[in-house]
Symmetry: C2
Subunit: 223 residues, 2 copies
DNA sequence: CGCTGTCAAGAGCGGTGCTCTCTATTTTGT
DNA sequence: ACAAAATAGAGAGCACCGCTCTTGACAGCG
């Protein structure tokens, strides 16, 4: 266990990365459905059985790709946030940055926000990366007093909202938390509808509608 | 071409239905990904090649299942609407009815609102069934004056909204149409997040949150 | 009856995930 | 320095998949 790895360890890390890169390329061509370890191996010039030294199963490779995708879209959201300035502009920037990443990586987006893969249960390690976009949105709201939004909240939802308030560390009433969840739903609902073709025939292209939605939802949560 | 079919024709129609039913059962077990014509045939006691007499390809069977699913969720939405009475209650009923169908048929829901299937292009025949839920929502609004909602709408979105106004035959300003689209997005965004597990850790179970969202979106569109 | 169209059956092609064994090479402990 | 242990790739093989092709049995109808 030295600081400088052995030649074998370096080769292994490199090849592992190459396998993931090639898998992502195939994901863009044939989707998660058609992702084939044999094809990845073939493209990399290795024999099919050899790839199992690096990923013990197709599912394990998928999990790694999923975690990478959650981190990538989360990082895109965080980087889109200027961090200072007008809060509504920061909010909009995060929405646009998130959508831009999704449009640039539609198959990776579908991997994380599309249909669940049957027989595949997302391991625990995906939950933290999965929350990064939502946390970026919440961060915009933490240092300001939100315009109060009114509305009755049923007890069941109130309890869930209050539990979330503690986790997120924000000062907001249950109705505001509920609206924040709706905004989060709207963000990914709109991206999914756009990418999955449901807007064809109504708002296609959806750029103007998406930016409009972002602004309306900013108002909606009290920003 | 007589009204009463021959024995052959009746047997064929029955077997076609049996194949679709068995395919739906398998969809629930292994998803669209794992749907296998051979397995369907095996389960029905026929040899694998025989099934191609009924469905020329796996994709053709998928298309039929997709059209059936769109029609089923559309019919669920329409039947949930009492048709008369308080408009906000009708709106809520449609939201709940749509979600109920989705929760009862999660794999069929994923088939139509989940990730697009790579290499599969939805044929034209799917677009009319796909719009039935949205039309059920619009129908609630057609015989009332909506509370005016204000807001600036950029020209690009305004043009799309006005084109939609004509198609839908409703009397509503561009901002209202945009909000209607947002409500439609919210409806399926929330159902997808619920079914696909994104609400785990925040609002799970999501029943209270979903009903709350429905009511807030009713207000939001001016109902 | 015999023709025509429909049907199930079976073999076969090239692909898949995955396992096993065998051999070559590198790393590690003494 | 050298042998033992760990790791690497290669290849064969299993059971499955979608799909195609051919063959032989049967029903409907003139």
């Amino acid at each position: 266990m030295t600081a400088t790895r052995t030649a074998r360890e370096r080769a292994r890390a490199e090849l592992t990365q190459e396998i993931k890169d090639e898998a992502r390329r195939q994901l863009a061509e044939v989707g998660a459905h058609g992702l084939s370890l044999r094809a990845v191996a073939r493209e990399l010039g290795m024999v099919s059985s050899a790839i199992y030294r690096y990923f013990p199963s197709r599912d394990r490779l998928l999990t790694d790709l999923i975690v990478d995708a959650y981190n990538a879209i989360g990082e895109a959201a965080e980087k889109a946030d200027p961090g200072t300035g007008d809060l509504r502009e920061r909010w909009l920037a995060i929405w646009l940055g998130t959508r831009d990443w999704a449009r640039a990586h539609p198959h990776e987006y579908a991997l994380i926000y599309g249909s669940p893969i049957p027989g595949y249960a997302a391991p625990q390690e995906t939950v933290v990366p999965a929350s990064r976009v939502a946390l970026a949105l919440v961060k915009v709201l933490t240092h300001t007093e939100l315009r109060a939004v009114d509305g009755e909240v049923p007890p069941e939802l109130r309890a869930q909202a209050e539990a979330l308030t503690k986790v997120l560390g924000i000062i907001a009433g249950p109705e505001t938390v509920a609206r924040l969840l709706m905004a989060w739903t709207q963000l990914f609902g709109a991206i999914s509808f756009d990418l999955f073709g449901q807007y064809v025939g109504s708002v296609d292209p959806a750029d103007a509608f998406f930016a409009h939605s972002a602004k309306r939802m900013a108002e909606f949560v009290g920003l």
